[in-house]
Amino acid sequence: MINKDLVIIGGGSAGLAAAIKARQEGIKDILIIEKDGNLGGILNQCIHNGFGLEIFNEELTGPEYAYRFKQIVKDKKIEYLLNTSILSLDKGFFIKYINESGVSICHAKCIIFAGGCYEKNAGAINLMGDRPSGIFTAGCAQKYINIKGYMPAKKVVILGSGDIGLITARRMTLEGANVLAVLEIMPYSNGLNRNIKQCLDDFNIPLYLSYTVKKVIGKSRLEKIIAGKVDENLNFIDGEEIEFDCDTLLLSVGLVPNISILNNLGIEVSSAKGPKVDEIMQTNVSGLFAAGNCVHVHDLVDFVTNEGYLAGFGAALYLKNQLKEDLNIDVVARNNVSYVVPNKIKYSSNKELEFKFRVKKPCKNVDIIIKNNDKIIKKVYKLALLPSQMENIKINTTNSPLKDGMITIDIETRA
């Protein structure tokens, strides 16, 4: 068995940032464990540009963005294992992993989990009809095209207007496929505006709002999709159907934090379906930190990187024994707020706090109100809020220290 101060599970954007920050903060004994043959995670298959606007103020491709962090990890001589999968993670932080050298157990004093997310698939959304080939999650299709160089589609319908779906629509069009439609069950799109413009509008791909797949038809390969219009309760409206003759259905219906490996540790899970964390990304299990899309799904990789930095910073404090818990505050998402990160505030020494959250439904002309118990500590006006856009609100507590109890996030519509 080997021993490490800090083990980072996952060498994608969150894991790399966490490693770099922890090293900057003086942690020497770090190991990154990555299942693929390359650091960078899912960025490696995202060959489109648009990454890095927040952090580098320029537009990079996924592999370019990953490269910058990989280089730092290499320059700082941070140890990493590639082609290494976690078999189990047990109480006391015994990590069983497997690679060419065999199955090994590593004991860590501190763990940062940065395992990313997975895509909701046909089973998870109870897709009705036949079970032919030609139904892919957008990420799976992206891997076929961008990593393997295989084209799995000719005539395509995309379900879900999330960003991966939109970007894959453009990629498939450029590869010669005919994208017939993007269907979105909600009355609004779930993708970034710039992606709707650049991926659909520029290629004349129609977006059908309030439509979803009613039935897929095809004995061996997909032959046809019956799409149906839904009402405000998401029930199908009789007679409002459109048929699409297509060989491919791409699902871009949401991402879910991939945390089943943490099952043995007794973590508490938030409404974002990731572990609950405090303001330095520590879970309810002391010494277990988490960052990135395994905590909550982000819109931009830049935000994932920042969250990785925060977890790296927190883990360093933990390892240096510099954490002094002196607050006990639950952070609660209310009314139209679907989740908030962090879920706990524990340290009065952190003067700069950032709350990340999403709304459940689009809203206009609203105030975001953050209260500590019943005292308003921040109020921000917004012209519009969308579920597809993560909001973040920063507060500084230097002049008005927080009190034990609750912090609440509310959305109030202005009259």
Binding site: E100, G123, M128, K148, P152
Partner: protein
């Protein structure tokens, strides 16, 4: 010339093939699909029923009970996951208790161990049972099995003992030519002394090649939910509702892979209709939720439909054709077909074949398959020993289910080779997890293409025509990895 041709490689065909393989015979099994056990045997509840339910005196009752007893040995010989976790049939209405008591009597008549349990006793066994439960019938000999590998390993063992298997070959006509049958397929034609018709829901079609038949096979669809592994202790037994005239009703059970299965519905359908529909699945949900609390349907990873071959006669049809005792129909094998299959094979051989053909035991018959590798179940030392010998066991192909490349290659180097992504999934569980192959499908496709030295364009997801890739991308030639 063949002594015996078996038409159909579902569980019935492969069980008969394996039992015949202990004799000095030329046996050929012809299957139209690209894998054995790929139709009804693949899509069912995967339950080894105890036999409390079939009407006493029927073939169903007799063969169910005889079949059940054989599974400990068969699963040991064939290296198939099987657990006698016991079944509980629950009664949710005071007015229905007499039905449960009738079932208990039926169980006694069928010689099946069964116990009536009170609500308190039931809740001790299954704390999540519905508050409405009044009484239940507990049958300890019921169990759960991995139906995919049961079919595959059974056929593999038959092949190792000399049976020939032709996949992707469809029987299009059978006629009698003097003493022999002439079996014509879409690829070839064969002569044989005996035909065994084990063609599942197509058994009526195959039987009709020889004579006008007096039974029908009615396809009846059952739709199911499969849930992810979320909590091993959520449920400990197979839970049934009271049976109705349409079948055993909805059940909820653990699977051998620690998933949960909920279903089936029961609707008459067309022969190739495997579609799922919302209304039906909603009714399954309602039935299941009536007997079990807090079923987390948000953990659903798949919904699917299977088709039962329901006979118009209401009992298994295991008899020679009226006009020819050398043509043996094994038809209408609906539930409890899976559990009955070994006893059906015995019945066919002892009662229908041995009177018309000399059966001589082989000297070198081996009932055991070469052990499979279940990497996750090995000890740390065993795992490392294996990796030392073969690095492929260190490469995880499917991260959800932790399947190694070594295990995938092992099943590729067997008698009944997986030809499709689905066939790999059924054997190894790669793609069976919560991402449903979103992460690993592209890699499995490459493994198949490399193994068979074919273009990725030729790799199938499942049935013929279910290709995945249409072409290479525009710059595929420039790739350097």
């Amino acid at each position: 010339m063949q002594d015996i041709i078996i038409v159909g490689g579902g569980i019935i065909g492969v069980m008969i093939a394996r039992k015949l393989s202990q004799y000095d015979l030329n046996v050929l099994l012809i299957e139209k699909e690209n894998d054995v056990g790929n139709v009804t045997s693949m899509a069912n509840s995967a339950i080894i029923h105890s036999g409390y339910d079939p009407i006493p005196g029927t073939l169903k009752a007799k063969l169910n009970v005889l079949g059940n007893k054989q599974f400990d040995l068969i699963c040991k010989q064939l290296d198939v996951d099987f657990k006698r976790i016991g079944t509980i049939t629950v009664c949710l209405d005071e007015n229905d208790v007499f039905k449960l008591e009738a079932l208990k009597n039926r169980a006694s008549e069928n010689n099946v161990e069964a116990f009536l349990l009170s609500k308190e006793e039931l809740l001790k066994l299954e704390p999540n049972l519905s508050d409405n439960v009044v009484k239940g019938l507990f049958c300890p000999s019921g169990g759960i099995i991995d139906p995919f590998n049961l079919c595959v390993h059974c056929m593999e063992n038959a092949c190792e003992n000399g049976v020939k298997l032709h996949l992707n070959e469809e029987v299009i006509n059978i006629s009698k030519d003097g003493e022999l049958f002439s079996v014509v397929t879409n690829k070839d034609s064969y002569k044989c002394k005996i035909v065994i018709n084990a063609a599942g829901y197509n058994a009526d079609k195959i039987a009709s090649f020889i004579e006008k038949i007096d039974f029908d096979i009615i396809p009846r669809k059952g739709e199911y939910f499969v849930l992810d592994h979320f909590d091993d202790s959520f449920l400990n037994h197979v839970i049934f509702t009271l049976p109705t005239n349409k079948g055993k009703g909805v059940l909820i059970s653990k699977t051998t892979s620690n998933n949960y299965i909920i279903g089936p519905s029961s609707e008459i359908c067309l022969k190739d209709d495997y579609s799922c529909d919302k209304l039906t699945l909603d009714s399954v949900k309602i039935s299941a939720s009536k007997m079990f609390k807090n079923i987390p349907f948000n953990q659903t990873i798949r919904t699917f439909a299977g088709i039962r071959a329901t006979p118009s006669t209401h009992d298994f049809i295991i008899e020679p054709a009226k006009s020819d005792k050398y043509f043996i129909n094994v038809a209408g094998i609906e539930s409890p077909g899976l559990v009955s299959s070994p006893a059906i094979a015995d019945y066919v051989i002892d009662n229908l074949i041995s009177p018309i053909l000399v059966l001589k035991k082989k000297k070198n018959y081996n009932p055991n398959v070469r052990k499979y590798v279940h990497f996750l179940k090995l000890s740390l030392d065993e795992q490392n020993e294996l990796i030392k010998k073969d690095k492929d066991f260190s490469k995880i192909i499917c991260n959800c289910e932790k399947v190694t490349l070594g295990e995938v290659k092992d099943v590729l180097n067997r008698y009944v080779k997986p030809q499709t992504i689905k066939a790999i999934k059924k054997r190894t569980r790669a793609g069976f997890g919560k991402c449903q192959s979103g992460f690993c499908q592209a890699n499995v496709l490459d493994i198949l293409a490399n193994y068979y030295h074919v273009s990725p364009l030729e790799i199938l997801y499942d049935k013929n025509g279910s290709n995945i890739i249409y072409s290479l991308t525009k710059n595929n030639g420039d790739k350097n990895d």
